[in-house]
Amino acid sequence: MLENSFNQLVEEIRNQLKPDEQFTLTLDSEQSQFTRFNHAKVRQTGSVNDGNLQLVLMHNQRSSYREFPFTGDFENDRRTAIQAIASLREEVAQLPENPYLVLPAGNNTSREVHTGQLLNPEAVVSALLPVVTDLDFTGIYAAGSVIRAYADSVGQKHWFATDSYSLDYSLFTPDGQAVKGTLAGSDWDSEAYQARIEESRSQLSRMAQPPKSIQRGQYRTYLAPAALAELASMLSWGGISESSHQQGGSCFSAMRRGEKKLSPKFTLKENFKSGLVPRFNELGEIAPLELSLIESGELINMLTSSRTAKEYGLEANGASEGEGLRSPEILPGDLDHDRILQALDTGLYLSNLHYLNWSDRPTGRITGMTRYACFWVENGEIVAPIENLRFDDSLYQFWGENLIALTNFQEFVPEVGTYGHRNLGGVHVPGMLVENFTYTL
């Protein structure tokens, strides 16, 4: 029904258009349930029906946009769209020319609909909480349908709809140590949920000992996949963007200048094969199924949008306007799961990281905190959990000469963000073992 309403609206906008005008229309829509937990009780519970359209009008090398609600009520949405077109026409005529404006082109179309088996909203609490009544369980369950769609004046059209859920939780010991777990998919599986909780319960038992205080310094360190995912996410913040490089902001400019390389063990790519996120961008362009970014330590590509390509005379590679990672993958190495502690020998085992930021982006330096199940390890044996530590290190070190090994398995770390709307997808990453990871406080 929403698809019909969207299609009707697209036709209406096409009919309203004058011959020398162009448009793109993108849709974000969701029907979501959010239930928030604390101490294995319900803190907040509710639902959100939301939809948002962005209409960009392009004329005479100028453009502007209007965002307005998509309610699914065609007459209502049609009225808003017509007002938006009139308002855009008036505004666009006043704006300065943009020589780098990219008009929609091509004939891409796609339609993907993934239906799932989600819990009935009223059954969520009784399905989740009885399993954790003896635990200090906190977190959020989010579920429902998410739609991303696109249409434009040259006839391109994409529709991506998916049912999905995510459970993002933490279990705490009485003195505040914690383990984290996530579960995500399209079909709720109560056995998988119970198994994941049992696994977390087992990890939590390791946290019972008093935490060990670690002095600042450099330590051999194992970063589990969730921790590596946090580091990888920084690359979307002006890291792997061609535009950022051109404007002096990228951490990889030193590689572009030929001054630095990463370890031959390190390979990063965009990989859309899992189909968890749409491949189309704000111009209806389809990203390649795979795009190599860093291969065996060498910079192969930066994410290049069509606008950036036009501005700097380059070739676009399907990147979105923001030139951030949409479906990243770091390739695995050869370290067996069972050999992680033995290979670490003596040092720190980090399950997760927290509140990362660039401390010096041009040199690739990132700071952040350890979080959740993090341990001091001696002679291949876990000795004790640690007190939180701050790290500050350069990716040219931990993905460069200090990278000892990557695990031979990857984990999928789902994207559970909900700013504005529920995010989709996630990152496929292995764990990694590094030498001399730098801790500062």
Partner: protein, 479 residues
């Protein structure tokens, strides 16, 4: 809209103990220019209604952008079913007193309306800013942005509340990036999007605009040849545009009662502050006076009522260094027995209210800028945040600034680049040894304070004088 919402409230059929309807309509405009070329122009409209239903001590919510009787009725029934399903697993039985009856309104001060300049005129000014920022060929990128937001909220409830609030908000930003080989330095106007206020275009075309633009461009170039910030433990003087972040991260967030209660532990974390600390914890030196103050005219997060209808007032959170009360809503106050403030806020119609900072300010002391600098033999003065990180208990932090000066023998001397500092919250605030007077007090804000599950980005305001901290570890850039 109040009468429409009241009509919905009278007609919808749910057997609840209390029902509240909060409608929000927000129109936001973004205009940005990079290197003299328009990058973004446009505006967004979002509107919808949050229905909250209280039954058996449990609130259920449902938010919809379909503002019709059918849409609201469907939302109310969903909210009711959610509340019933959760009521046996309730973390705390919410009393109706957490949603008091209140009637009133608020309108932001506004001198120069947003439509006093056309979109074309605003673009012309932004283009001129980017051109003026390019004071040298070593400036490789310039940008300028103006954001305006007009928000109206209406709140009605079955116990008689009727609140209307109308906010005009503006945020501006401009910056220049300078490069010489591998050295890249960026200087902005007080840190990224820190110039955020309630009001109109009077905060865009300010009397000092063009002088400040020239200064930002010149300082970006100056940083290229400046010395790196040294690694040492010293006296640190922070400008108000960095105190914005310092207050926010190391005072505001740790005092939120919902964090202390554990609601936030899975996302942004908890707090080193415990419930028993209120009334007696020595948080900082006696010079530390922090107020929660949504009454400051023009500050970014001013209001008369929070999103549950609680009337807002100025309150001391920390007085003469001692912790007085928490950033906790009526709901959190009922859960903890700790005094709080009117701070239950939601980012929009599609999110439920949670404990939030509004304006959180460091109150001024009695020394001028010149007097403070003159009293320091050796130290470092830093301006404008560029990087921030703090642990999940709001304890160990590391912040970076854009621009710094050495202080030697009572004078500001050499410019320093890549200034960073790190410390631990209680130690840091205990080292507060001087606070600037009202002449040094400036207010800033940000629209991007993130918190909550589901996530919410909200507006906050922070005002501060310059402040001096003893024995702080500072360091420079480089790998």
């Amino acid at each position: 809209m109040i009468s429409e919402l009241s009509h919905f409230l009278n007609v919808i059929d749910v057997p609840a103990d209390w029902v509240g309807l909060r409608a929000t309509k927000e129109a936001a405009t973004t205009r940005s220019v990079r290197d003299g070329i328009p990058e973004t122009n446009g505006s967004s409209l979002t509107q919808g209604v949050m229905v909250e239903v209280l039954v058996k001590g449990q609130i259920g919510y449902a938010a919809t952008n379909l503002i019709t009787l059918e849409g609201i009725q469907a939302a109310a029934q969903k909210a009711y079913r959610q509340a019933i399903a959760a009521s046996e697993w309730n973390i705390h039985s919410t009393p109706i007193s957490a949603r008091p009856k209140v009637v009133g309104q608020y309108v932001s001060p506004l001198m120069k309306p947003f439509d006093a300049l056309s979109p074309g005129e605003i673009n012309d000014i932004l283009i001129k800013i980017t051109r003026e920022l390019k004071v040298s060929d070593q400036i490789v990128q310039t940008s300028a942005t103006a954001l305006t937001t007009e928000t109206e909220t209406w709140f009605v409830s079955t116990n008689g509340s009727e609140v209307y609030q109308h906010f005009f908000r503006i945020g501006t930003d401009y910056s220049a990036t300078a490069q010489e080989g591998a050295i890249v330095q960026r200087r902005s106007n007080n840190g990224w999007l820190a110039s955020c206020y309630q009001g109109g275009l009077e905060y865009f075309i300010t009397p000092d605009l063009w002088a400040r633009v020239q200064q930002v461009g010149t300082q970006a170039i100056e940083l290229l040849t400046a010395e790196d910030c040294p690694n040492e433990t010293t006296t640190l003087v922070l400008a108000p545009d960095q105190m914005l972040l310092q207050i926010h991260e190391s005072v505001g967030h740790p005092l939120e009662l919902d964090r202390i209660l554990g609601d936030e532990r899975n996302y942004a974390g908890g707090s080193f502050v415990k419930l028993q600390d209120f009334g007696n914890l020595v948080y900082g030196s006696p010079l530390m006076n922090i107020t929660f103050d949504p009454t400051v005219s023009g500050e970014f997060a001013s209001y008369s009522f929070d999103d549950t209808g609680a009337p807002a007032s100025r309150e001391y959170l920390i007085k003469e260094g001692v912790l007085q009360r928490g950033v906790g809503s009526l709901e959190s106050q009922a859960r903890t027995g700790v005094k709080g403030v009117a701070c239950a806020r939601a980012s929009s119609w599609n999110r439920p209210p949670i404990d939030r900072m509004a304006n959180l300010n460091l109150e001024p002391g009695d020394q001028s800028f010149e007097e403070i600098i003159a009293g320091i033999d050796r130290g470092i003065y830093m301006e404008s945040n560029r990087s921030w990180s703090i642990d999940d208990q709001r304890h160990k932090f590391q912040f970076s600034c854009e621009y710094a000066k050495r202080i030697e023998n009572g004078k500001l001397t050499k410019t320093l680049r890549n200034p960073n500092y790190r410390s631990i919250t209680p130690q840091f605030w205990s080292g507060l040894i001087a606070v600037g007077d009202r002449s040094t007090w400036q207010m800033y804000g940000t629209p991007m304070c993130g918190k909550g599950e589901p996530n919410q980005a909200i507006t906050v305001g922070h005002g501060s004088p310059i402040a001096v901290f003893a024995n702080i570890e500072v360091f420079g850039g480089g790998a």
